[in-house]
Symmetry: C2
């Protein structure tokens, strides 16, 4: 028994569908490209537009929050029920750059509806997936006869996600009290495919470092000195080669200590997904898989920690040859982390490991970038089950499967700062073209998103009570 | 008993010393920088100046030889004795770039004599060391009363050595008959120090290659795909790491096959040189030695083959991080070779070794640059003994020790093309500052060079007869 009758929800959505799509199109017309300073005013206009729309939707509190960069939007709608749990929705209102000449068939900032899809920059990433919450909460109220949501509903929609969320954590930390929640719903991911609805249960964390290796004071002649002094480019290469053992496991001592291993049940669920490796390789623009022995490709990218070299450089890189021992070399490494790995401890392990491998005569410096902690919600967590149930109701009772994300996101900051479990609700599909020309959202899925959130607040109110 | 009375030689040199230095200074004023197209006319002027000066010296044949690049100078002075051996002297008349603002105390193309030294670009490398042959052959004639040298004397002075001698081998091959000789004297090296006169006995060879490694069609996201596809930068690094074993020996199968190992006598001679490792490290601008186990530093740089990475690049090298698996990576490797290593065979070994290590999913291309064969004259070769004896006479009977050069030079082309042993006669010292600001030559050593060559033609005539 649900508290939001499914048919009432559908009737309500059908009634307001056209106005909802018109509003979304209006928002998509604002080119809120956070990476391009010439669009700073557009990003601000986008925040103000959203705040006004949320006010119109019924949120009694709507605020534009300033940061050291682009503004975020905060909105709040108290339940009125003193026992109601609090849920914070996360999304972003900025978009990736887009220009007609990149291969767009139509103006990226003039939305076009065609063949059941809306084409525009931000249609899926992330305006469409933020915007379904507006009609969703109205449908929730209409179908239940409530005047306020079943949960204390908060929204935080940032304006710098496409620029790496440089000020997001500070914003969250300054506003811990206002943002406090029992669960976070991240509305910025996707599902497996049009025909396989899924809920993401976690994201990998990230540690990044840059290693500078200094040898001779300047490039020296490899004829005069070759074979007799340490070469910093060789040392850089040896570090990279030592990153993995012969089974492609990360060989840094202690790296795997305490990680959450996949349970047989989790492996079974992942194996159930209709995974086509040759299709996946096409998406990866690659010709072969290679990874940790004993794990499937999906397990490798979603549930196993990794070490990758993102950049390496040293010595002469121009045309032809130059017989030198270079003065220095540089490495950029990134590590994807999984539940159980602490970013501070991993950085300490990396630091010691590097120091143990650099030979006498080579000076090294290691600099860490901002780390992101992994997040993972257990499959039996009541809030995760509530998300899956809501989605299943929207998808005509279909079985909801579980995925993960290999990347990392600012959601992990909310997990850290608020100490709340993070749940992911996304209806975008791989073909939506995030960051690519002709980004689109499938209207049928967008409305399933509306429908899912119409059920979600009731489901979560029960699950978290 | 020598055929050139030492005192007669010295008297002659003392008499013409001032004119000789004035002439050298005039030549040094021509900025024959082969690497800078704006000096093309100067390089030609330098060749013409030298040809005229050699004619004035007495060479009956002097010619400017065209190449696809800068011109060379050829001169010939037949002995007149039908049994006389033929000797070809090699040098170059082009110089490295030089500009006052690089740290020169005086104009690099306005020679200054100060404290017994002549400062100018090319003073030591290589105009000074080519030019001592002019007064040398005159002193030889004056002291012996001959009208022609004791050997059939040929000079080949190229104009592109500082640009890597790109057309030198072709020039030699086109003129095999004219250049035919029983021995080649390379007049473009140095000796151990002011107080330790030495003769170089060989140079290492060189093989160079560039390896391109291609992975994904474009850079891909290391969160989405990291840990599951091969990374070309990792493969590049693993190749470099696999170049050496734990004893810093080159680990390419077959690399050491057939090489001329140092004899105990040769090792003893090298060990006798007054080698100061901390001083050597200062010259190498390095802080520690590292090389093949079981060999001294001098042995490593002079007598052992090596593998060095001259350049490595792949992925993101800008500021900060970028979480990608790069589409490609590049390596530039060079290999110093010693006597017994065939460049073609070494290239084949490298090719097979690379192919054996590149994993499925990575495409690779390997390109070899022009290789140089090693050259080494045995210590008991009569021509080498003749060079050492001539030098000892110039250096007041001092013991002449033997060195090698770690680098490679166009001399090896003459060895190949003419099939003649290559001998090295150089009076430059490490402090002369080749390729650096304030290049100079020690006048006392320059005149020892004149004196050595005054004895050399008689000594060689006997040794090679």
């Amino acid at each position: 028994m649900s508290d939001t009758p499914d048919s009432a929800v559908r009737t309500y959505i059908a009634q307001y569908r056209a106005a909802f799509l018109d509003d979304l199109a209006e928002w998509l017309r604002i080119p809120s490209v956070s990476a391009q300073p010439e669009h700073d005013a557009d990003v601000r206009r986008s925040a103000e537009w959203l705040a006004a729309k949320l006010k119109e939707t019924g949120f009694p509190v709507t605020e534009v929050w300033e940061t050291a960069g682009a503004p975020a939007v905060f909105a709040e709608w108290p339940s009125g029920d003193p026992d109601a749990p609090t849920v914070l929705v996360y999304g972003h209102h900025d978009v990736q750059p887009a220009a007609r000449e990149d291969g767009w068939h139509t103006d990226p900032f003039e939305p076009v509806v065609k063949d059941g899809r809306m084409y525009a920059r931000g249609a899926a990433d992330d305006k469409g997936q933020v915007f379904f919450h507006t009609l969703g909460v109205r449908a929730h109220l209409a179908a239940t006869g409530r005047t306020a949501p079943a949960v204390n509903l908060k929204l935080l929609v940032e304006g710098e996600e496409e620029s790496g969320s440089p000020h997001f954590r500070a914003l969250a930390e300054r506003n811990t009290d206002r943002l406090a929640a029992d669960a976070v719903i991240v509305s910025d991911t996707g599902m497996w495919s049009e025909t396989t609805p899924t809920v993401c249960t976690g994201m990998r964390g990230l540690a990044e470092c840059e290693i500078e290796l200094h040898g001779p004071d300047q490039d020296i002649h490899s004829g005069s000195f070759g074979g007799a002094v340490p070469n910093p480019a060789t040392v850089a290469a040896r570090l990279v080669a030592a990153l993995h053992d012969e089974n492609e496991r990360v060989a840094i001592p202690g790296f795997y200590d305490g990680i959450a291993e996949l349970t047989p049940a989790e492996r079974e669920l992942l194996a159930e997904l209709p995974f086509d490796e040759s299709e996946w390789l096409r998406t990866a623009a690659s010709r072969a898989t290679l990874g940790e022995a004993g794990y499937s490709t999906l397990e490798r990218v979603w549930a196993r920690p990794t070490a990758e070299v993102n950049g390496i450089g040293g010595g002469y890189q121009g045309p032809g040859g130059k017989t030198i021992i270079p003065a220095s070399a540089r490495l950029k490494l990134s590590f994807r982390l999984v539940s159980g790995q602490d970013t501070d401890r991993v950085e300490e392990l990396i630091r010691s490991w590097v120091a143990s491998l650099v030979p006498a005569g080579i000076r090294h410096e290691i600099t860490f970038g901002g780390a992101t902690r992994p997040c993972l919600t257990p499959l039996d967590h009541p809030a995760l089950q509530a998300v899956a149930r809501s989605m299943s109701r929207a998808f005509d009772g279909e079985k909801i499967r579980f995925t993960r994300e290999g990347g990392s996101g600012p959601a992990a900051d909310l997990q850290d700062v608020l100490g709340a479990p993070v749940l992911f609700l996304g209806i975008s599909v791989p073909s939506d073209g995030w960051h690519a020309p002709n980004e689109k959202v499938e209207l049928i899925l967008l409305l399933k998103g509306v429908e899912t959130t119409a059920h979600l607040w009731g489901e979560l109110a029960r699950a978290l009570r």
